[in-house]
Symmetry: D2
């Protein structure tokens, strides 16, 4: 792609993350010839869009750049002729996420906004909207790349590929970057001096690590992590994995595997937060309110330090790097959600996977990962099936599929409790689940 000036659209532009995104573009000003940045949001997000959009304008101006920054509620106007569309919107805003977490916890079950019951409802709310966006893109900017970081990022990417029939989509996540940074530190190296090979699903992947001499250092990283004398452990893990299990894997899990390998402790922690009204969503809501107070300051002309604490650091940077890698055909090695096509032999050919890929001008080219040992394979396969059924439920509004997906999910206990939580969440999110209208009415009638 060698246009002189590119147009980038961000849907959910009123997000508190936007300054990080703008910072990422500014950092790459010499390689990314941006012409226009369009920040799009919806009516309910208008105020936040104004606040963060004006900060974005001040940042661009401070950097001495002539980029146009547009703020709009008109998505279609923004999409016209776009080169890259990044999506970071949150249907129902943080209040929806609070429900995603608190309703399951009120029944003693983990919420987990990406892969648990919460994440499944996020998929139910998000997928119909992303499919609308894709329809607009096909009409208004059919050659643009869609760079998604709305969670659950893997399911959203699969929905776009399978049901949106749109190929130019990449799902992003900051988890691999965090691992690269932490694990290289643990063995006293820089990330760029190690080769990380990732394979799996979004928030559910494993990886192996090699050094520049060709040695696999995966075991060496485990040695350091499980060596109790060193204080590196604390940096890596709030709740430590079982060493015997990780050793048996032969690969490094991702941080989210704690939910699967250490379920009881993770649940206990979440229930404590729930009791204090400090679930992750509630904490984030407070942090965001503070951030927007900061953003209002007309003297603020750069990303404030506090944003880093918001969580999700490096997310936006990953997006900017991806955009630059596609634009400049950089052949960067990144971990993205993309179509499998056999890169992970244990999963369906046409599903979305998260896998180390070379980012070219023609998009991500996945490295072949091959087959997993049974211990990884079984979990991976049940998660993918859960994703497939969740996406189908999101598209069709079929209650049976939603219940099935809950049953498949290893983070949701099966049986009556699953049904009760499902029903309560459907009713609570009613406004954002038009596809489940019939199912919700039926539930309301039997209450």
């Amino acid at each position: 792609m060698k246009k002189d000036r590119i147009k980038i659209v961000t849907i959910g532009g009123g997000s508190s993350y936007t300054p990080e995104l703008i910072e990422g573009y500014i950092k790459r000003k010499d390689e990314l010839p941006i012409g226009e940045i369009w920040l799009v949001d919806i009516e309910e997000g208008k105020d936040k869009l104004e606040i963060v959009g004006n900060l974005a304008k001040r940042m661009v101006k401070e950097a001495g750049l002539d980029w146009e920054v547009h703020l709009t509620l008109d998505r279609r106007e923004a999409l016209k002729g776009a080169d890259f569309v990044s999506t970071q919107f949150r249907v129902g805003l943080l209040d929806a996420r609070i429900k995603d977490e608190r309703i399951p916890l009120s029944h003693g079950v983990m919420g987990q906004e990406t892969n648990g019951a919460g994440g499944m409802f996020k998929a139910f709310r998000t997928i119909p909207v992303i499919l609308e966006i894709v329809e607009d893109m096909k009409e208004l900017c059919p050659d643009a790349w869609l760079v998604n970081f709305t969670n659950p990022s893997g399911m959203v990417a699969e929905a776009v590929l399978k049901y949106g029939k749109f190929e130019k989509v990449v799902g992003l996540c900051n988890v691999p970057i965090m691992h690269n940074m932490m694990e290289s530190k643990v063995i006293g190296k820089k990330p760029e001096d190690l080769y990380f090979q990732y394979g799996g699903l979004n928030h559910h992947h494993w990886h192996r690590v090699f050094d520049r001499e060709g040695n696999e250092v995966t075991e060496q990283i485990m040695d350091k992590i499980f060596n109790q004398d060193e204080n590196t452990v604390q940096n890596i893990t709030s709740i430590p994995f079982f060493e015997e299990q990780i050793r048996d894997l032969g690969m490094l899990p991702c941080a989210y595997h704690r939910y699967y390998y250490l379920t009881d402790d993770m649940l206990k922690k979440e229930l404590e937060e729930f009791a204090k009204g400090e679930t992750r969503a509630e904490v984030v809501k407070k942090v965001e309110a503070e951030l927007f107070e900061l953003y209002k300051d007309p003297n603020l002309k750069e990303k404030p330090e506090q944003l880093t604490k918001r969580g999700g650091a490096y997310y936006s940077d990953a997006a900017c790097e991806l955009i630059s890698s596609i634009y400049n055909d950089k052949k960067t090695d990144m971990v993205v959600s993309t179509r499998n096509n056999g890169a992970l032999a244990d999963l369906p050919y046409d599903c979305a996977v998260e896998v180390s890929s070379i980012i070219t001008a023609a998009g991500p080219k996945p490295m072949n990962f091959g087959k997993f040992p049974p211990a990884e394979r079984g979990l991976l396969q049940v998660m993918k099936a859960m994703e497939e059924v969740t996406i189908e439920a999101a598209v069709t509004g079929d209650y049976g599929k939603a219940l099935q997906a809950f049953t498949l999910n290893p983070l949701v206990p099966s049986g009556k409790v699953a049904k009760v939580i499902l029903d309560e969440m459907l009713v609570a999110h009613k406004k954002h689940l038009p596809q489940f209208k019939n199912a919700i009415e039926k539930i309301e009638n039997t209450l």
Copy 2:
């Protein structure tokens, strides 16, 4: 196989099931030219072997047959020149099963002696013994068929195939027969007037049903099962499945799927039994004691009615039918555990599956089943991975693999509770787990 007189060996011959087996042979006396029946047991089972063995002799005599019935503790003598070897032994006897069920339940977790924590320990105890038997068979009766009904029947069959490198093994289970009988009744048919196609794993399969006019009647069976007005429901299910979920499956689950689809209610029921000292194992122990009292009666010359209540009805009949089908090349349609070889496209090529097969003189020829929809597929794949890792743990005594297998198992909550149960069970079953010696010592040292 057309020998004039065949030799059948039953390992675990002192089992309370033996009379059913003998009855099954007697029923088939015209098609099965039995010469010798050898009932083998171990020192601890000597008394039971005497009691049940003498009943067997009386039954054969009463039937006017000249079959020799041998009782022995010398397995190798029995195996010499055998044509069929059936295995129904229970390492550690019912006391081990009581531990399998009560230890997990004491931590609020399901025991489940076939696919749960209990079943995994049964695999740990059984697999080393079956592999010894297979070694003996290779030497003493290499052409004999091994017909196994010791649970977990699928894992035992896979261990024999993969680690025993012995091809002539068939795993059996009575669950499909029960389904055939109940479901045909529900729609007012006879089992022989329906065509059932089963696919999956032992105690974890689904099936579709067709009538003799070529119509699929799977939905029709669901209609009857979920029609609340009819009293058929009670006959079928003690705890009813969620209709929306079963409809979404598009296939009929097996009774054991309750553990996966209705986990909380099943657990609640087991915890109640646990509190009353009436876990299944404890109930069975009492029933067995009563049965052996009956068996002692020298006037008893046929299978007593009470045995039917023991559970596991049709098990022995299935074994006799299988033996006769192989001997007579009957081309019977039976559901057996056998090597996959692609019959279930979603599972590894070389694993054991439970699948509708045509039983020929050359053993079972599986019907092709193809791919499952994602809802079945995900659960099936994680269960198979759990089985593979369990078998590996059973063979190697590797603690990490055992913990991994516990984590993969959907019936065992992951995290500390899994580890605590695992450790406690390893120590409790110490006597029957020589392969885990090192791991158990380590646990004992840290207690």
Copy 3:
């Protein structure tokens, strides 16, 4: 299927085979309650339809049956409410087959009317017609079974499944029956005392044989075939296979494998026949003319002995047996072309394969065949690819695909000669290849 009176339609009813079909029905009069038989043909076949149709009527009457036999040129009228539709039509009649064989041979290349250049052109002519028939069936008799024996039977079945989106189709062939008969004779057994397991493609399959004692007798059959002293050899093979090659296969090939394993001798034989004007098609044309002379005799009231010599014996019997097996849910073991669904792990999941199947009321249920050794696998896979590309060419009329298919076909030498033959055949068959109109015009313009 339990209708009181069934309606059977035969498209290509004017075929010389029809008497065999009628005889097959009469033989099964006690199990097949036929109401109506409709023989359908096209204008050009009207005379033959009259002749053979009247013979059919006489045969039915002679058997004392009240079946209605209708002769018609109106396919749609015939299809209305049909229960079974069998297809044995030949687009372009035998003259087209003569071209299929003579044109390639005129360039020193095998014609081979099923899998060679001739068979590909037969597919080009037949597939558009079968797809029309299927459209009619969807409208007029959507629940009927389509039983096809028009060659290339496997490609026709695949076209119906993939492009016609019609599931109730079965492809038939008499080759397996011939093998069963000959090979059982070679080892002094009856076919019903052996178990034959077939897998592959139409006219391109391999099989293994087991006796009723469970022993594989595949090697034993080879021993007899390759034992030069016995005169059995001559019965089996006009041109003998290389023993070393067949031994290495570990399975028995089908008679058509001579074209692939003994290409030069087969070609030599065909070229000799070509020189004498006695290609198979020319011989058949003469035989047919004689047969129709016989059929005209109003005193002929049964299938004449001469028909057996026509070749294709047992074809019609196979069709009648298939129809009866579906109607009566007979669970017969037959070799049919049906959807793969993983039964042959080496071939695409959704293609058509020819495989031993159990014929139920719900259609054929394939036995799982698993993977082939590389020697069989490579040939099988290139043939399937050839079939897929041929079918695509037949459906689209794309010249590049047709050329590609010629190149893939191991019976057609690649390069200029392939192109020359392709062009000449396209022009020669112009009348029956409307889909290739553009390509043919282009060729004619450059001539």
Copy 4:
């Protein structure tokens, strides 16, 4: 790999290519800290080893480098502690290749020293020797990388992986480099400005091309190649492909596909060369003799220009680049023969494939290629099967397998002619085929 000084061994060091290899090392002197180069050859190659080895020494000296250059007939001494072992030996020297080509041609059949009958005999001679080398390497330099360019490079790599059980092997070929250079030139670009994705087997692969703007330019390259007005055609192809066929492929074939797509013209050309005593082997033999005359000149201190004409240009450069990429963890994008592991979904998981890979310190990491369309897939699969059976024949000396492999090979007509050629070649190469001793004796006895 970060040793200060590395040891490189070249087996077949007396080859005429060695100066190119030395030049490649010298070009990379700043990135490759070579300590020792060992050129190994056998007794028959001693003279050539002396000549070319001394030239190598002069070249190194001229470049002002302190590298030790050793010439030896003692392979084991050379291998001790090696870091890289490159193999370019030719069992039976060029005289064997002359037989490989002339014997088939004497029967009107293509020789083709890589994938045809000639290539298969090269595999028969080479594989036992490479397996011996691998055994030595396991003992003497188990951490070294084996970089093979002895043809048939893909089969040799597969033999090392499967039968040698040695993982650190990479097969190399110069064909992809030639394509990159020619095709970029055709559309007026530099190779480094295009992204080539290759997949297939050695001398049997296809590729797609993308530019730095992300557009696929595969079709654009075809446009140029098939545009008759431009004189680019001549540069690309001596015998032009059929445009319709290449368009249908949707990918670019490799130059060797001419043998499969244009068989008759290629054979015609070879037969003409055969008649003139100018088969490729004979021409090369003359060129080599001239080269060695040049090499003798003590004043020659660099690679002579004439070597480029020898063919096989860029071969050695590819090897040097590969070695440097591994040593320096360069992440270069190269096309190599390596273990499939699912990168090509259409081929067995554990076979060797030739595929675009990222070369890291830990060896090649293949890019995922996915599935091919049927036109490519069929040919690819039969070729791989041919390779597998050829390798098995090479390892076992089984005559049936050799005949089977000949039958599978699309370049060898099947039937008697195949057998005659096979027998004649076995006898002709007797000295270098100890594993076929029994088979050869049998042939000789029947002559």
